[in-house]
Amino acid sequence: MSKIEVKICMGTTCFVMGASHLQELVEILPAKYPDTVDVMGVPCLDLCSNESKYTNAPYVKINDEIISDATTEKVLKHIERLLEDGQE
């Protein structure tokens, strides 16, 4: 199974809406899932400028799925679910 890719948006909107706190994932994820999860920041996921669709910053992208109103807990839960699905 390929690694789960977690991308945290570091754009202005996401950052002020909470992505600054999501930065803790950079420490949490590699410690918890050293072999299964890759985490990185991206300058911007270019989602917030699409006003009709995305108004719930901050955003995190996990593989191809977009998590809106992202929190550390929400991201961790999503990863756990993906890992469980992968094992089945």
Binding site: T12, M17, E24, V26, G41, S49
Partner: protein, 387 residues
């Protein structure tokens, strides 16, 4: 040519203010720069007043194109007379420099300046003008033609007399000692900035003193003719999306150092030029977004928040404990002479969402403010283009 100028100073030990005064002003439309260094009689407040008056008056008179002889008479007559010594006195050096390299220098009382070209000291010819009303006051007038890489070093006698009384340096550092230090330092670091070289000389002078206590006010001013350091900052996506590629290519092909401020902008350039951008998020929680890396670009930061913080730093100085992206952007700007901003005019609606917890300014306004500070306070050449 660009004229890089800076002055470093140290107060006489135990005094609470400087007895030397340095002033300089650039006239971008004329491509000219005037610099004045004055050393007031004595030290402390009295010397500071004498030196400040001398420097300010000289700058104003020279700026107005008055004859230097007449100017000096006026200045000497205007200075208050010292109660102890019954004389009014302050020494000075004035330099009028053009970007083409024509330099006119008038010295009175200060140690002779050092002219360094191609790693060697040149002793230029001068004419002497005597003061009509004040005996023993002679002005030395120099006319020079400087070329790229040349330097002029001015100092107060606090530098040349540093170490006086030191058993090894009975007459102090002297001009010869200063020249030796300058040439050694320039050999080590030929492209040293005026700011760094002037600080270095002041440090050497202080360290030469007995107990490292400055016995007089110490000042060193360096003028360096060099190629302007160009910088280009791309911030914000262009208004017309179809022009993205054109602007990205222009950014890529520009000379000098480059920075991108903005996540969307970084993505745009990454996409158009096919260069990956890597974001480093090891920065601590709650601070500014950290810088990213992109090949061929010297600095990549987030946009509005970083720019706003950089303006704050440029205005009030850097006081935070940790160096962040805004600090790096400030350094990037201050280490450049000619700065061009390419400001994308497209708005991001999300920034105007009332739910956003902090005030986010309009990009154009921040850049306007930043350009003004860079021009007025830091004497940079700034160009702003809206795209």
């Amino acid at each position: 040519m660009f004229i890089d100028i800076d002055c470093a100073q140290e107060k006489k030990y135990g005094q609470n203010t400087y007895g030397d005064k340095f002033l300089s002003k650039r006239y971008p439309e004329k491509g000219e720069l005037i610099a004045v260094l004055s050393d007031g009689l004595g030290s402390g407040i009295k010397a500071n007043i004498l030196a400040s008056m001398t420097a300010t008056m000289l700058l104003k008179f020279v700026e107005a194109g008055r004859s230097i002889k007449r100017t000096c008479e006026v200045v000497m007559n205007a200075l208050p007379v010292c109660e102890v010594r019954k004389i009014s006195y302050s020494t000075f050096s004035v330099a009028v420099c053009t970007e083409e390299g024509d330099v006119k220098i008038v010295e009175e009382g200060n140690p002779q300046f050092v002219y360094i070209s191609d790693g060697k000291v040149i002793e230029p010819e001068f004419t002497v003008i005597d003061s009509e009303t004040f005996k023993n006051r002679h002005m030395h007038v120099y006319k020079l033609k400087l070329k790229l890489g040349d330097r002029l070093v001015f100092c107060s006698d606090g530098v040349t007399q540093a170490g006086l009384g030191n058993p090894e340096l009975k007459l102090g550092l002297r001009r010869s000692g200063l020249i030796k230090c300058l040439l050694e330092r320039l050999q080590e670091k030929p492209d040293i900035s005026s700011s760094e070289l002037s600080k270095y000389i002041v440090r050497i002078a202080c360290n030469t003193e007995v107990d490292r206590h400055a016995k007089d006010d110490i000042s060193c001013c360096v003028i360096h003719y060099r190629e302007p350091r160009k910088a280009l900052i791309f911030t914000g996506p262009p208004y017309h999306m179809e022009k993205d590629r054109q602007y990205a290519l222009e950014f890529k092909n520009a000379e000098g150092k480059k920075a991108i401020c903005g996540g969307t902008t970084a993505n745009l350039i990454s996409r158009e030029l096919n260069i990956p951008v890597k974001c480093d998020i090891t920065g601590s929680v709650g601070k500014l977004p950290a810088v990213s890396k992109m090949e061929g670009v010297d600095l990549v930061t987030e946009g509005i928040l970083t720019l706003t913080r950089t303006v704050e730093y440029l205005e009030n100085g850097f006081k935070d404990k940790e160096k962040n992206a805004a600090y790096e952007l400030m350094e990037f700007l201050l280490n450049s002479d000619c700065i061009e901003f390419m400001v994308g005019a497209k708005l991001n609606q999300a920034h105007y969402d009332p739910n956003l917890p902090i005030e986010i300014e309009i990009r154009k306004n921040i850049i306007k403010k930043m350009a003004k500070i860079l021009e007025d306070k830091y004497i940079k050449k700034v160009i702003v283009r809206y795209i």
